[in-house]
Symmetry: C2
DNA sequence: GGCATGATGTCAGTGACCGACGTCAGTCGC
DNA sequence: GCGACTGACGTCGGTCACTGACATCATGCC
């Protein structure tokens, strides 16, 4: 017999999601979440630096998926090709079965500005990590930042669509990235001769 | 003789910046900022919805600059061309004289994760607004989002460089955008034939 | 002169978050 | 098999961001 049930953080996250979904984020107290699993508010904040973090902790795995995708890219790949590989790897992190869960989670975030801020911050952190990985492969700093941020943008837009449509995230990501390349080519043709 | 000095919000912002710069953001209380200009904490929160907002209020003008740049773009311009125009307009919002002020402000933000979150949120809001404006000009939704986010990315990177280098923001923005287009072309050549 | 107005002050409260300290079941060295 | 140690938790007290309700009072309009 163990003294404490394992997976405390996970149980807190599950309870939080349910409470947020029914009562609303702001109407739910950190102490209430803790009580729901038989713990104290203080313990809640030992597992999550923030009340918001209860909805975001665990994204290191997504970041790792991006990093794995980068590693999987061939050595001669251009920055955006590497990013494309990372996007593919990240897509496998969201199989279609996960859609319902992601939807309720997202609906909570969409209703609270503070949570949206955190979500965007995580995306930016992701972009920074990706940029670092690109630079480690020898990509120039500016190119690394641009490619990484573009990847984050594509991922963000694709993820939003994945929640609505029924297609796979991988397909959607590819389409969104292709559209970005199209836009850029179009602009390059118009902007370059002007110089 | 007026009962209250005008420009209350501005005075609060100035006092806040000084206190944050010397004492640090977290070590400065909203009540202290208010006291510094002879007001009450309650009044502070009547002018700013947030403690953080004291550093960000006023950015509607930057958004407006982007919007003006969009309006100034010719009707036949492609989405990213319109964005380029918006970037040019936004650049004039940051003349070189403003660099010192921007630098101290940014150093405060860079030292506090919460402020970084807010900054990124503002950038995203800007991108959303730009995307709406693009759509109002008839740009397809996906293209509008991508172009707007790319613009925000370019602006963010260019702004960071502008704080360090001594070149004009306009020049830097143009360079960063050009690099993005280069990256995209490079990737398009590699990715497209693969299909 | 009286009255509406708007910016402010006062007060009392809630909830997020933190530091310090105590508790206690399991683990490890001997 | 005992005592020191550790790690996850509880308790307590406090700070500070933020809010609603209500009072105040110069200004300007009628």
């Amino acid at each position: 017999m163990v003294r404490w049930e394992p997976g405390t953080a996970e149980r807190l996250q599950k309870a939080a999601l349910e409470l947020f979904a029914t009562r609303g984020y702001e109407q739910t107290t950190a102490a209430e979440i803790a009580q729901a699993v038989g713990l104290t508010e203080r313990t809640f904040f030992r597992h999550f630096s923030d009340k918001r973090e209860v909805l975001f902790q665990g994204q290191e795995l997504l970041v790792q998926a991006f990093l794995d995708g980068i590693d999987a890219a061939p050595a001669e790949a251009s920055p955006l090709e590497i990013v494309a590989s990372a996007l593919g790897s990240a897509a496998s992190f969201f199989p279609d079965e996960r859609r319902p869960h992601s939807r309720t989670r997202q609906s909570i975030i969409d209703r609270n500005p503070g949570l949206q801020e955190r979500e965007q911050h995580k995306l930016t952190t992701l972009a920074t990590t990706v940029a670092d990985a690109l630079r480690a492969r020898g990509v120039d700093e500016l190119a690394a930042k641009l490619a990484a941020e573009s990847g984050a943008t594509v991922f963000g837009i694709a993820f939003t669509r994945w929640l609505r449509e029924e297609r796979s995230l991988d397909d959607i990501s590819a389409d969104v990235l292709a559209e970005l390349l199209l836009l850029a080519e179009e602009a390059a043709q118009a902007l370059r001769p002007t110089r």
